[in-house]
Amino acid sequence: MHEHECTCHPGFIHDTLIPQVGVITDIRQETPDVKTFRIEPPQGGKFFEHMPGQCAMICVPGVSEAMFSITSSPTNKEYQEFSIKKCGVLTDCLHSLEVGDQVTVRGPYGNHFPVETELKKQNLLFIAGGIALAPLRSVINYVLDNRQNYGHVDILYGARSADDLVQLKEIQEVWMKTADVNVYLTIDRPQEGWDGNVGFVPTYLKELAFDTNRTAILCGPPIMIKFCLQALQEMGFSKQQVYTTLELRMKCGVGKCGRCNIGSKYVCKDGPVFRCDQIDELPAEY
């Protein structure tokens, strides 16, 4: 351990603003612009324990730093993974890295899906679009690994095309084969070799006509969230039954720097997971 210890506050040995060094130990190309990175401390293992829905700050020193959801489940005891879409300076840089390259990681930040409280014993409906499967994958695997604690699980996942579906291998080989789990995949436009559903997620959601005896966990681009929420409400869901995450526009991660402050909440500390009725109480700045 470093000598970063306050003499009169012996507890403060680890400021969460100080990152750990992370080594990339595996890279999977999920889609043309999404890669999943396995990042471990140099000595191996996990950086910290986390709960589904929590995030971490990944930084390429000298380039930039940003918040990403931890896509691996806490039940994975060996390592942590991040699915990252190429969409800016930092992510471009991350995508150019190789196994063995180092980055820095700090976290875990934010709250998590209430997997041990509100969601327990519930039937669960996961709705995700595109890269937004990343935060949900953590919850889904957590739920599947603690299968006895939860009711029926439905997963509705859509992307622009079949090539943009993230974690397809795991979906097909694990999720689809787990008992009492239904996976519904959809893509925006018809495509050769695709015999699944074609259509936008909100439309497919309505078609599937789930009953309201379940809690929905919704994650995706803002426009998809908006229409899915409408669809859910039309289907009879109340906002209390729907959880979602807000965009990760954060800097410090500890609810102090002020950037992600919306009303009296700090998204990085009090979020990113919110129940939809809680979001309604926030001023419209998200």
């Binding site: 470093h2 000598e3 970063h4 210890e5 306050c6 003499t7 009169c8 506050h9 507890g11 403060f12 040995i13 680890h14 400021d15 969460t16 603003l17 100080i18 990152p19 750990q20 060094v21 020193p61 000298g62 930039s64 730093e65 940003a66 969409c87 800016g88 300076v89 930092l90 063995g100 390259d101 180092q102 980055v103 820095t104 965009e247 990760l248 526009r249 800097k251 410090c252 500890v254 609810g255 102090k256 720097c257 002020g258 950037r259 992600c260 402050n261 919306i262 009303g263 009296s264 109480e281 001023p283 700045e285 998200y286």
Partner: protein, 341 residues
């Protein structure tokens, strides 16, 4: 109660500085700010308000968090050492002392900011009562007694003496350190000064400012008020109010490439700046109206909502004095007050 003759103050400073670093109001190029005491510096206890508040002492405008070195593929992180030496901040006014209490709510809340915490536990606050409050002061509104501020040691300055009263254990320790220079005293002069100050405070133009209606519950009503549309207009989007404010604590985290590695530091930021919330993937507040509103909503609504009604304003009046467009929190509070009537 102790006292020390004004003429002996340099000796007092020297004695403290011998043991610890001493931060106090120093005049440089015509303006007074908290600064490290040196033999040659021009200590200025007469100026009521330093331009910047004393928050620098605990939450400096910029501070290094860690250094990051790269050797081939290997990265090494070397965190900056935490404050481990004691220091004294001398001459803080009541409003600024309360400002530190506001910062405590932020930085000492979980997860604790160890850089701040280390400074807090190594710093001794010697506050100074306000001898002559000015027109922009309204600390009374926030329940602050500028005649008897909080702190580890409280002092009063009269024409001849500095009166010295240790309040906390830290204060006692400091008092012991300079005991040779202090003499015992009665309270008479201090009592008289407090009374005089009290009278002045009553006459201050903003003494009767009402905070009625400003609390956590008022969130959406205040947020959606059309008044902001007019109020924000003159705002230049500069950070003057933020940077002179004793309670503003927004910060940015930045990297500096030194050529030998990357130095990560954090520095004050202003929610009034147009790029404050501008991020790679979006912007929470795109207009100056939103940013302007954020600052006041945060101080008067959001912060109290999270901190048992404590406002993130201490009435120091620096923003009142310094805003290039003569905008300030008082005008905002009053504007809503008028609307209420």
């Amino acid at each position: 109660m102790k006292k020390i003759a004004i003429s002996n103050l340099p000796k007092l400073y020297a004695a403290i500085a011998k043991a610890q670093s001493l931060i106090l109001p120093v005049k440089t190029a015509g303006k007074t700010n908290f600064s490290l005491w040196t033999e040659a510096c021009d200590v200025d206890l007469q100026t009521l308000k330093t331009v910047k508040s004393a928050k620098d002492a605990f939450f400096p405008q910029s501070e290094t968090l860690y250094h990051c070195h790269r050797d081939g593929k290997n990265i090494t992180i070397t965190p900056e050492d935490l404050q481990s030496e004691s220091f004294v901040v001398f001459g803080i006014k009541g409003c600024d002392v309360r400002g530190i209490a506001v910062l405590d709510k932020v930085f000492l809340a979980e997860p604790v900011d160890s850089f701040y915490a280390a400074r807090r536990c190594h710093g001794t606050i010697v506050s100074l009562a306000c001898g002559a409050p000015e027109e922009s002061c309204f600390c009374k509104v926030f329940g602050i007694d500028c005649a008897e501020p909080e702190g580890d040691v409280v002092t009063w300055l009269t024409e001849d003496y500095l009166y010295w009263k240790p309040v906390t254990e830290k204060g006692e320790k400091l008092t012991a350190l300079v005991a040779d220079l202090l003499e015992d005293s009665d309270d008479a002069a201090v009592t008289a000064q407090k009374e005089a100050i009290g009278k002045i405070v009553e006459k201050l133009p903003y003494a009767a400012l009402s905070l009625e209606g400003w609390n956590g519950e008022a969130l959406n009503e205040k947020f959606n008020s059309p008044l902001w549309e007019t109020l924000y207009k003159p705002c230049l989007a500069c950070g003057t109010c933020t940077f002179v404010c004793p309670t503003c604590q927004c910060y940015d985290i930045k990297d500096y490439n030194t050529g030998n590695g990357v130095q990560r530091y954090r520095c004050w930021d202003s929610c009034m700046y147009s790029d404050f919330t501008m991020m790679a993937h979006g912007n929470n507040r795109t207009s100056q109206l939103q940013r302007f509103r954020q600052r006041f909503m945060h101080k008067l609504v959001y912060f109290p909502a999270n901190n048992d009604g404590m406002y993130s304003c201490v009435g120091c009046g620096r923003c009142v004095d310094k805003c290039p467009s003569h905008l300030n929190i008082v005008k905002v509070i009053k504007a809503f007050g008028k609307e209420g009537k």
